[in-house]
């Protein structure tokens, strides 16, 4: 089926896709998506979706296996119509299990040295509480990285997502100094992991990676298009990461779904370094009513990961 799709002319495929997106609104659960093919590496959810193959046949596919062909570079500039994405991270639940990091790296075919999602051990001041702080890209509404790019390789879409087009990027790294959150990573060489991905490049997948260019967390628009939440959100065993839509006023971590505005209001959600004026699309819920001691985050860490936190004020004092 994949081959059949690839043989299709680009234009007709794009129209095909568009129709599919309109019919299925991209995320409709249960039925409606037309062009789809199956991702053998994904896990089944048990929920069946009716899809139309390129031969015109209707078949049932498990929703977990559903996958769309990657959108073209041109298409990736537009954004998914009528959406505005948002992420909420509940710091009270994070225990540095690092499943988000691993799933993200696997999904984006990244080497160990490139992390789109980083987990920090933060402590705002000496007497305040330390906490684990997962940090994706904040997809700012006033993104300095986008302003400073000399070639338009990084851009803000109508759905709020900030993406990078690696085939346009010249690798000047100005965006990396522009981002105050150290979000962006650079491909210092050609990593073997890049070759694992055999599909054509799309900014929506941020894969395959390209030597000498910048990349970062992309909010997984390729997954959003098939009604899934990003790798990090679905991989987190604690359900720390919620993903959703501001206009729909809904966020979900896959098991629990909340009204976004109410959640932020009730739990005093905030954005990191609000004073910088970058207007992030990622909100944090303060680390209150903890489910875990901070020390639990050191539990099963690989030595080189544990080593990372050795210079934090908390580690120096408590020697976990």
């Amino acid at each position: 089926m994949e081959e059949a799709l690839n043989k299709d002319e680009k234009n007709s495929r794009r129209q095909f896709l568009k129709k599919g997106l309109i019919a299925g609104a991209g995320v409709a659960i249960g039925s409606g998506l037309i062009a789809a093919y199956v991702d053998a590496t994904a896990t089944e959810t048990g929920e069946k979706v009716k899809v139309l193959t390129t031969d015109g046949e209707i078949m049932e596919v498990d929703r977990g296996l559903l996958k769309l062909p990657r959108v073209s570079r041109e298409e990736s500039h537009k954004g998914i119509p009528g959406r505005k994405f948002v992420m909420v991270i509940d710091l009270g639940k994070c225990k540095n299990a690092r499943k988000c990091v691993e799933a993200c790296q696997k999904g984006h075919h990244l080497p160990k040295s490139q992390e789109f999602m980083k987990v920090y051990l933060l402590q705002d001041s000496e007497k305040t509480a330390p906490y684990w702080f997962p940090k994706p890209c904040f997809h700012c509404d006033n993104p300095l990285c986008v302003s400073v790019c000399p070639v338009g390789a990084t851009y803000k879409r109508s759905d709020g997502i900030v993406l990078i087009d690696n085939e346009r990027c010249i690798g000047c790294k100005f965006c990396m100094t522009g981002c105050p959150y150290s979000t962006r990573v650079f491909a210092w060489k050609h990593y073997p992991e890049f070759d694992e991905d055999k599909e054509p490049y799309s900014p929506e997948a941020s894969s395959p990676g390209r030597e000498g260019t910048v990349s970062k967390c992309d909010f997984c628009p390729d997954l959003i298009r098939v009604g899934k939440i990003p790798y990090c959100a679905s991989a987190c065993p604690m359900g720390v990461i919620y993903f959703g839509d501001v206009d729909e006023d809904t966020v979900t971590n896959g098991t629990e779904t909340y009204q976004f505005s109410k959640l932020i209001h009730d739990r005093a959600g905030y954005r990191y370094l609000e004073t910088l004026g970058t207007r992030p699309c990622v909100y944090y819920l303060p680390p209150v009513d903890r489910q875990f001691e901070v020390d639990r985050g050191f539990g099963d860490l690989a030595p080189e990961v544990k080593e990372r936190y050795k210079d934090t004020p908390y580690s120096k004092k408590n020697k976990p």
Binding site: S113, K118, Y120, L121, L122, K135, L144, S147, V148, C149, P150, V151, G152, A153, R168, C169, I170, G171, C172, K173, F174, M176, T177, G178, P180, Y181, S182, R184, V185, F186, A187, W188, K189, H190, R210, E211, G212, T213, V214, L273, L276, T278, E304, V305, E307, R308, Y309, K310, D311, T312
Partner: protein, 438 residues
């Protein structure tokens, strides 16, 4: 061309006509250093930027430092020669060409260093194809290319009289192709009153243009840093700060060049202590302005208010970057003040040695602007890999830095073989006139 009792060209002819054994050895040495740089560059292209010390936190290292440094040096000619020209300063003649050569040569080398930082040189043309005017890098591309163009015209205009002199001089023993080249380049200039008037007007206009373009270029360069939100960079003072720093380093490089060419080409009759003191005083004023005023007010406000990230940065500067900080911001300022400021110390050797220290201090000054800021981002760096934690340049970066300096020296040497390093037309030996400064 009226012949003076002794044509000064006779004093300068040997440097054009012959190259000594030491001269050739020097050129071979420079080529070897450049060769090492080429090898390092190939390594970087083949193995990727991993061969440098740069990583995700410190994404700009020694390359950018060199870029700022060379651009700053280029400012010497623009400001010093431009200003001295406009004010018709009498003593400028013997050193003005060196200043112009410094400008154009440094201006050609500087941008090469930013290219070394670019991850995908194969896509460099996208800067033109898809250039976004909102990006300070685009401002930089426009400003630097305008500057190179303007400085070339300014240099060429100032060479014209000498090109005509070299064309007309019968006694010069030079191969025919060079004679022909001088003839072509002299554009039929014979020194008629009308030509003189036009040339003077054009030079005046270009001098003013070159000064203003150079101010813009260096401000734009500063804005690349200060438009970001990084602590230590996000500062309104950066534009003028960089401009002053540039002239400061430029004046020091000019003094070193004066010393070298005075020795090598025996120009003691033309370049005298007066010139060293005069440029030294320019350097002194800039030292006071640059350090006493800009650097001090920048760090004072950061330290006094002690915003969290500014405080972390200053702690870093006084711990891990202690010596670079002391050399650039203390020794780099006090030395010129003492040596040039106190008449007793004001000798040619002392002024030159001070200039060497100033050049080093200014390079370090750029280093501690670029690197510590990138090592202290808003979110603390939490990493176990040492090269991700702290930046230290690798042999590739040092080799290319050395190659940059070698190209500077080589182009300067070749330029001085092509045309006299001092403008000879209408030049007179320095008279023993007493100057208040000397």
């Amino acid at each position: 061309m009226e012949l003076q009792p002794k044509n000064p060209l006779r004093d300068f002819a040997p440097q054009l006509e012959r190259t000594s054994f030491q001269g050739y050895a020097w050129i071979v040495f420079l080529l070897a250093v450049i060769g090492l740089g080429v090898y390092a560059f190939l390594q970087q292209v083949i193995k990727g930027h991993e061969v440098t010390g740069m990583r995700d936190n410190v994404v700009w290292g020694v390359y950018i430092v060199n870029f700022i440094f060379f651009m700053g040096v280029s400012y010497a000619g623009a400001l010093i020669s431009g200003t001295l020209h406009l004010f018709k300063t009498a003593w400028r003649k013997p050193i003005i060409r060196m200043a112009e050569f410094i400008t154009i040569i440094a201006l050609l080398i500087g941008p090469c260093f930013i290219l070394l930082c670019i991850g995908r040189l194969d896509q460099l043309h996208y800067l033109v194809l898809f250039g976004r005017i909102q990006s300070p890098i685009t401002w930089d591309v426009i400003a630097i290319s305008t500057d190179i163009f303007g400085c070339f015209i300014f240099l060429y205009l100032s060479l014209l009289r000498d090109l005509a002199t070299l064309r007309d001089d019968e006694l010069l023993r030079l191969p025919n192709w060079r004679k022909k080249l001088y003839k072509t380049l002299a554009l039929g200039y014979t020194g008629t009153p009308e030509q003189q008037q036009r040339l003077n007007r054009a030079t005046d206009i270009m001098a003013a243009m070159v000064i203003s373009i150079a101010i813009i270029v260096y401000s734009v360069l500063a804005w690349i840093f200060s438009v970001t939100l990084q602590p230590g960079w996000h500062s309104t003072i950066f534009g003028p700060y960089f401009v002053i720093a540039a002239v400061y380093s430029g004046s020091a490089v000019l003094i070193i060049c004066m010393w070298v060419f005075r020795k090598v080409y025996h120009l003691e009759d033309y370049i005298t202590k007066k010139h060293f003191v005069a440029v030294g005083v320019i350097m002194l004023v800039l030292a006071a302005a640059f350090f006493g005023y800009f650097t001090f007010s920048d760090y004072l406000t950061k330290w006094y208010g002690s915003e969290k990230n500014d405080e972390l940065l200053i702690q870093l500067l006084f711990k891990e970057f202690y010596w670079p900080f002391i050399i650039s911001n203390y020794i780099g300022v006090l030395l010129p003040l003492l040596v040039v400021g106190i008449a007793k110390f004001r000798t040619i050797t002392n002024i030159t040695l001070t200039s060497v220290v100033v050049v080093i201090a200014l390079w370090l000054n750029r280093y501690i602007i670029v690197v510590p800021t990138l090592e202290s981002p808003y979110l603390p760096i939490q990493d176990s890999r040492p090269e991700w934690l702290n930046y230290s340049a690798t042999w590739v970066e040092w080799s290319l830095t050395a190659a940059g300096v070698a190209i500077f020296c080589l182009l300067f040497t070749l330029a001085s073989k092509f045309i006299t390093i001092v403008p000879v037309t209408g030049l007179q030996k320095e008279e023993k006139k007493e100057d208040i400064l000397v």
